[in-house]
């Protein structure tokens, strides 16, 4: 065999080796990659929200209001564009407890019962005689009726919002019962209708006998107000089309719940408004339509 032929054979062998070896190496590299590397966390998952309408009814309640808490009949309507984002609206349409005082208001109301402005106390030991510590002409304490007439409360809320659903899963209870669930965060504008016990505080002026703004000029801050709404919620799916919905909202808007002077300038006006954070929790029974659920790959 000539030297040239020998070299040629070596080149052919090298070429064949490369042709065989390179794809084999590439394949080995592919085989080393986990088959679950790009897999979703949950396969064959019920997409319980994607392209589905949600409609339900329930109750929603304010928490920690200064003067009046509200328990409201609530409606919830929504459409889930994908499994993880949707648009919805929650509306507390009817306050079924318009006279539900907070515990603070209860205690305050009790102490206001001794106001010397109240004609019933004009002859009491605190307001007249040698034991008097104040008098009807000097006491700045509002009467119970005056205070109540100036205080506002939430009458209705309408909350259009975007729901973002990052968490979905299932849970077991006592290792027996299990449900699919999701957690979502929500945000959007808020429309809050503030109402008073009497329209525009009608009985305030009739009781007015002084020039102190916290007695005579007090007036309830009422009407439809605009604010923001952030919160979170969850669905616990009883089956593929019925779920229990729990929602918490923080309504952020300007308010003067007492309807009295705040900044001490002697007037009750827009300068007395303060940003307030008003928490509400709601419990709804909701239906998802269509009843059929898509299963992911």
């Amino acid at each position: 065999m000539t030297k040239k032929a020998h070299t040629m054979k070596r080149e052919i062998a090298l070429l064949v080796g490369c042709l065989v070896g390179i794809p084999a190496l590439a394949q080995a590299a592919q085989e080393r990659k986990s088959p679950l590397a790009d897999a979703p966390a949950i396969r064959k998952r019920f997409e319980l929200r994607a392209n589905r309408l949600e409609a339900g009814v329930g109750l929603t309640q304010t928490i920690g209001q200064d003067f009046y808490n509200a328990l409201m009949l609530n409606l919830r309507l929504g459409y889930h564009i994908t499994d993880w984002i949707g648009i919805s609206a929650s509306a507390g349409l009817l306050n079924i407890t318009p006279n539900w005082r907070s515990s603070f208001n209860d205690q305050l109301n009790t102490t206001l019962g001794t106001s010397c402005q109240d004609p019933r106390n004009a002859t009491s030991q605190l307001c007249s005689g040698s034991t008097a510590i104040t008098s009807p002409t000097t006491d700045k304490t509002p009467t119970q009726a005056n205070a109540a007439a100036a205080e506002n409360r939430i009458g209705m809320v309408i909350l259009p919002q975007v729901d973002l659903v990052p968490f979905t899963g299932k849970f077991s209870l006592f290792s027996k019962l299990f449900m699919n669930y999701d957690f979502y965060v929500l945000a959007g504008p808020a429309l809050i209708n503030l109402v008073s016990k009497t329209p525009s505080g009608a009985n305030l002026t009739s009781e007015c006998s002084k020039t102190d703004p916290n007695f005579c000029k007090a007036r309830p801050y009422t009407g439809m107000k605009f604010g923001g709404n952030v919160g979170f919620g969850m669905h616990a799916f009883v089956n593929k089309y019925f779920a229990i919905n729990l929602e918490a909202h923080n309504l952020i808007f300007k308010n003067n719940a007492a309807g009295r002077d705040v900044n001490g300038n002697g007037n009750v006006n827009s300068f007395d408004l303060q940003w307030t954070y008003n928490w509400m929790v709601g419990l709804n029974a909701v239906f998802f339509l269509p009843a059929h659920v898509k299963v992911s790959h």
């Binding site: 065989v20 907070s102 077991s172």
Partner: protein
């Protein structure tokens, strides 16, 4: 020539190996029983698989068994294996016989007039995976609310308030629920639900209505304080968990009397004080560190 022959052999042999590797997937000679068994095996080995779909697989198993003329006993065995599947197979985190050290921070949410922030910690020993006993201690920092500052201006009244100083409790825990969720369908996070009940002591101090403490010195109270709570815990690693929860502390606290005269000593003021049932609801956030930092499974699941 030998080298050339060897090279050609490799070229021919390589697709042969590839075909052999793909053969099991392409093999259509399996029985229905084998396919059902594989499907069931996949379902049980994949914790994320929806168990709602498994009844269908079980039915397939039964159907296949019937077609092959198996006895009723094999169908019962198939059913038994289905019933044996737990809701959340193989918990990702075991707590039994481990100690949790959990520093926390909390905020009170139910008092309109005064807010308390607290910093403290829990030391919990898990007797089993669901029962625990521990101690809790916290130090409070008070903050008067905007509403409290307006009561005097708007209503000519001053509220009687107490501030919380510190507390300690014995805490019993029970874990009734365990679950997991997918985060954007990319990550799996395991969590549990814990119910707490306990009893302890809380130290409080009056905030005099008249701010002149030289004439109206405050007095301290020591109260027995039971509590109830609920929390959820998310497991991050084998030794780390994040928790949020809510606890409701109830105690009978003594407040300064409204008509307290000036220069009355703290002891006399306390003697004349008024009791009032106090509810302190606090929201907690904590980070739990587990010792020992690792655990071993003692059962297959």
């Amino acid at each position: 020539m030998k080298r050339l022959a060897f090279g050609l052999f490799l070229v021919l042999a390589n697709p042969g190996f590839a075909a052999a590797a793909e053969a099991p997937a392409a093999n259509t000679g399996e029985t229905a029983d084998d396919q059902a068994t594989q499907a069931e095996s996949a379902a049980s080995e994949t914790p994320e698989a929806k168990t709602d779909e498994l009844p269908d697989l079980s039915e397939e198993v039964q159907e296949a068994s019937t077609q092959k003329g198996d006895t009723a006993a094999s169908a019962a065995a198939a059913q038994k294996s289905w019933e044996d599947i737990v809701v959340v197979p193989r918990r990702a985190f075991l707590k039994g016989r481990r100690v949790e050290l959990a520093p926390f921070s909390a905020i009170s949410i139910n008092d309109t007039l005064i807010r308390h922030y607290s910093f403290g910690g829990d030391i919990t020993y898990y007797l089993t995976d669901v029962f625990s006993v521990g101690v809790e201690g916290q130090y409070f920092i008070k903050e008067r609310s905007e509403r409290e500052s307006l009561v005097g201006l708007q209503f000519n009244r001053a509220p009687t308030l107490n501030k919380f100083k510190y507390s300690t409790s014995l805490v019993f825990g029970y874990v009734p629920g365990y679950g997991k969720f997918g985060l954007f369908n990319k990550y799996i996070v395991h969590w549990d639900l814990t119910l707490n009940a306990g009893i302890g002591l809380i130290w409080t101090e009056t905030i005099p209505i008249n701010p002149d403490v030289s004439k109206y010195p405050p007095f301290n109270n020591l109260n027995i304080m039971p509590h109830l709570g609920i929390s959820t815990r998310m497991f991050v690693t084998n030794w780390l968990a994040l928790s949020i929860g809510i606890r409701d502390y109830i105690f009978d606290d003594k407040f300064e009397k409204l008509d307290r005269p000036a220069n009355q000593s703290a002891a006399v003021a306390k003697q004349n004080g008024q009791y009032s049932l106090t509810q302190n609801i606090m929201v907690f956030g904590s980070v739990g560190f587990y010792l020992p930092p690792s655990f071993q499974y003692k059962t297959p699941r």
